[in-house]
């Protein structure tokens, strides 16, 4: 079975308007589901997890007629994203399209993760939405705004810490760490002044993203800063090229992610090719994001939840695991279905 199952790719492309005539609208299906774990054995832990449907004691919410809040705040409340999505994977994009992607992302109010920042100056507004990757050497002349450091170990952190001193005060520090169970790293990262942690499965690490994310969330909740759990000061972001859909984002939210960096998902969704016309690319990104936001709203509404950040993020109680062993349920903090 491939990561990019036919139905997943088709769903993204329907949202983006590459296929069909209902761009931006959550695709409709009929008759029974055909996805794992119902038909075939799941590939990922995410495929074992299902969300709640509200009924009887908890009315569901109709996101087309009633407000459902998908916005999330990051960077201590300074950055508002309209939905829990950050566009990444821009290394795969032709240089001439960077601006198009960033402006489309900015308009839609999502974040943009730039791993190999070109030496371009951003408009000050756009800069606030750009998570700019920096290595310790090239901090000179960096515009203030969110800056990302990839940190794989405590030793690396020391070097980064020196580099960080040269940055302006209004720079917001983000640590990007591998998908591992390195609890002491989170602690060190926070004490070094970072206020956001990205757990990035594509940086490697010995644990699946679901597990390391959930454990990071719980570790930060049990780590006090000034007598208050660190998790509520800091943002937690999940990243992987195998985050495929709004439902993956929704479930990762449940395991503790305030937002997710999507890579291949949007590239596949908009059917990115280097020769795609700029206006078409822009249009498709907008459609895809609007569509994913609507899908997230549908899942929220179905669960009887009206606020993503306060009621979905870390709310493991809303989710159930289908046919996962107990030891895995415990690590995730998710109950088995039916229990």
């Amino acid at each position: 079975m491939s990561v990019w199952r036919r139905d997943i790719v088709s769903n993204l492309r329907l949202l983006a308007g590459v296929e069909g005539k209902t761009a931006g609208e959550p695709p409709i299906a009929s008759m029974g589901a055909t996805n794992p774990p119902l038909i075939e054995r799941p590939l990922f832990i995410l495929d074992h997890i299902v969300s709640d449907g509200a009924q009887v004691t908890r009315p569901s919410i109709d996101p087309y007629r009633e407000p459902t809040e998908t916005e999330v705040y990051l960077l201590g409340g300074d950055l508002r994203l309209t939905m829990p999505i950050i566009i990444g994977g821009l290394t795969s994009v032709d240089a001439k399209h960077l601006d198009v992607v960033m402006l489309a992302g900015f308009r839609m109010g999502v974040g943009i993760h730039l791993e190999n920042p070109p030496s371009l100056q951003f408009h000050v507004d756009v800069r606030r939405h750009v998570f700019l990757e920096a290595s310790e050497g090239d901090l000179q002349g960096l515009q203030s705004g969110p800056v990302v450091f990839s940190i794989e170990s405590v030793e690396e952190l020391a070097k980064v810490r020196r580099a960080v001193k040269s940055l302006g005060l209004d720079t917001q520090l983000i640590a990007r760490v591998p998908s591992s169970a390195n609890r002491s790293l989170y602690r060190e990262v926070l004490f070094a002044g970072f206020q956001t942690v990205i757990i990035d499965e594509d940086l490697g690490g010995e644990e699946p993203l679901e597990v390391s994310l959930s454990e990071a969330d719980h570790t930060l909740k049990k780590l006090p800063i000034n007598g208050f759990p660190a998790r509520y000061y800091v943002g937690l972001i999940a990243a992987s090229k195998r985050i495929r859909s709004s439902s993956d984002i929704f479930k990762l939210g449940g395991l503790g992610a305030d937002a997710c960096i999507i890579r291949d998902a949007w590239l596949i969704g908009v059917d990115y090719k280097p020769d795609i016309p700029a206006h078409q690319l822009s249009e498709r990104i907008e459609n895809l994001l609007i569509g994913m936001q609507r899908e997230i709203k549908l899942l929220m509404g179905a669960a009887g939840v009206s606020s993503f950040q306060s009621s979905i993020v870390g709310n493991r109680e809303l989710f159930r695991a289908i046919d996962l062993p107990y030891h895995m349920c415990e690590r995730l903090g998710v109950k088995p279905a039916g229990e």
């Binding site: 000061y233 009206s306 306060s310 709310n315």
Partner: protein, 646 residues
Amino acid sequence: MGAGFARIRLDSARGWRVKAFAVSDTVAYQIFDMLEENGHVEVLSQPSPEYAPMNGALTSYTAYVDASYESLWSAVQEVNEVLWRDGFKGRIYSWGRFVDVYKGVGYPADVYSLYQMENRGLDADLWIAHTRQPTNSPGRLPVWSHPFSSGDWAIVHNGDISSFGSNMELLWSLGYESFVGTDSEVIAYLLDYLTSIQRLNVQEAVRILCNRFNRGLPDQESIKLFYRWRGARLDGPFSVIAGFCDGDDVYMVAFADRFKFRPIIVGEDENYIYAASEEAQIRTISPEANVWTIEPGDYFLASLKKGVIYPGRTLHERFYTLSTQLKHPPTTRDCIDASYMNYRMLNQAILERIKAGARQVDIINVRGQRYIGVGLDYPVKLRIFGTPGNCLANLNKSLEIEVFGNVQDDVGDVMTGGRVIVHGDARDVLAQAFQGGAIYVKGNAGNRCGIQMREYRDRRPVLMIGGRVDDYLGEYMAGGVIVVLGLNYLDTDVEIVGDCVASGMVGGTIYIRGKVSPRKIGLNPPRADVMQYLRGLLLEEMISLKEYEAIESLKDFSLITLREILSPEAVKHVSKLYVNKYWKELVVEYRRLSSSDLAVLQPHFEEFGKIFNLREEVNRVVEENYFTIIYPKPDTRTRVEEPEEG
């Protein structure tokens, strides 16, 4: 089934009154020994049972202790965690200086007699009582009964909190280790934590939990507060009544969720302040109290020393003007006295009168009986004196029901004919799927009035409301006419409707006296999203700075407003945030009523004015006032390919 009471009394405290359930005296002694082992708690008295222990069942014990709040808090956590782990032998369920909780399994009367409360000579500045059907917990043990208490807070809750998991995670990360596993207990812990440890004032703490929707532009300070306390915000349906004493004053709080899915009502008379989930409960104690409802997502706050601090509604004193000073007409001699009747007996009694040939049946002392008139398909008149319970006139075809008093939720559901006249207020979900006949309400109505009203062939329902309404007026409305007059808010700047008016409306017409803010009509995207998008268009020079600033300076805007300011090209782009495949464009007019409007409405205005003795007011409004008139634009569907059925 569970029930319980809390009393809060501002007096010189004898230390902390700690109450625990235990399976035996031995366990009770162990519990208090464990408290003392903590090192910072001194037990001042022997634990004494509050009622004769029953075989094998949990018994409540009380003892007094001396400790700081923090020491006692952490000792209680430890003890409860140990008790929970060791198989369920007991639990500390209340510890406060001013709060005293009595709870158990059974009906309220059972708990009352179990604790022999009659003989205790208890008095209080604030009483809270509760009874429940267990939903998310089995409810076999008294620990699952309400009130839930933490420190000097006691709360009762009605609902099912969907943010429960997130709230638990916050509490767990703060060191709360032991839970009985209901969503209700977290409310007590959160309120106590925010006020006692974080030292927020009661109002701030309650605001965080209420989690009201942002209506308009949020200020930066609120954003930070709500961000930091995101784990304490509540979602899903709830109404909560809480009491708190800080040693200086006793506070009474009542609050409801942002959608106001659960009912809550507050009231005041010369001597007391009340809060309850049904009006019938307040009326039982105080037939003459002024009562009003809280706005969705808002809260009510009163204190012993200050009286009503925050009423939970703008100009609440105007709210009940239409429903007070009600002069009851004389009743017929052979009226039904509903004092000791349940709904079945009552409907049976009505049926007997009808079968005996009565054309009018008077019912007095109605206090919360539900389903009155359901299943009675006769062209007769019922006059109800008192407060009928939910589901009045459901499936009504031919009855005329006149209520001298307020009505509760879900009146006129699937009503296809006949008439309902309410001389007071109506509450939530009035006239759901109402499809024929007329409903007149002299006073106000609550949330989701006229939801999915519809018409069919010669049937065209008319809903006329003299006062104001809350959110979602005419949601999914598919036919018929709704009129909201707001006679009690004449000459004020209070809008007489809440948010999301006509959201999902596909047919029919809504008339609202006065101007309705554009953002209140339909469901609009968050202002911040729209401004973000426009900022993007500005950077790409698709709109001008002047246009951007013109929109930014508006207090309130909708897609209609944007069309007036922006180029068609820019509108096409920004429409994406507003329009989806289910979206149906609404026509919004602001004008005097036309002769064609009056052709439909005039007979109803006349009836309404005559019945409620409001002729002069209605005439003046019809002649002098502008109305906001809302109806769906014909054939504006963007896409039609998919039926959605199941």
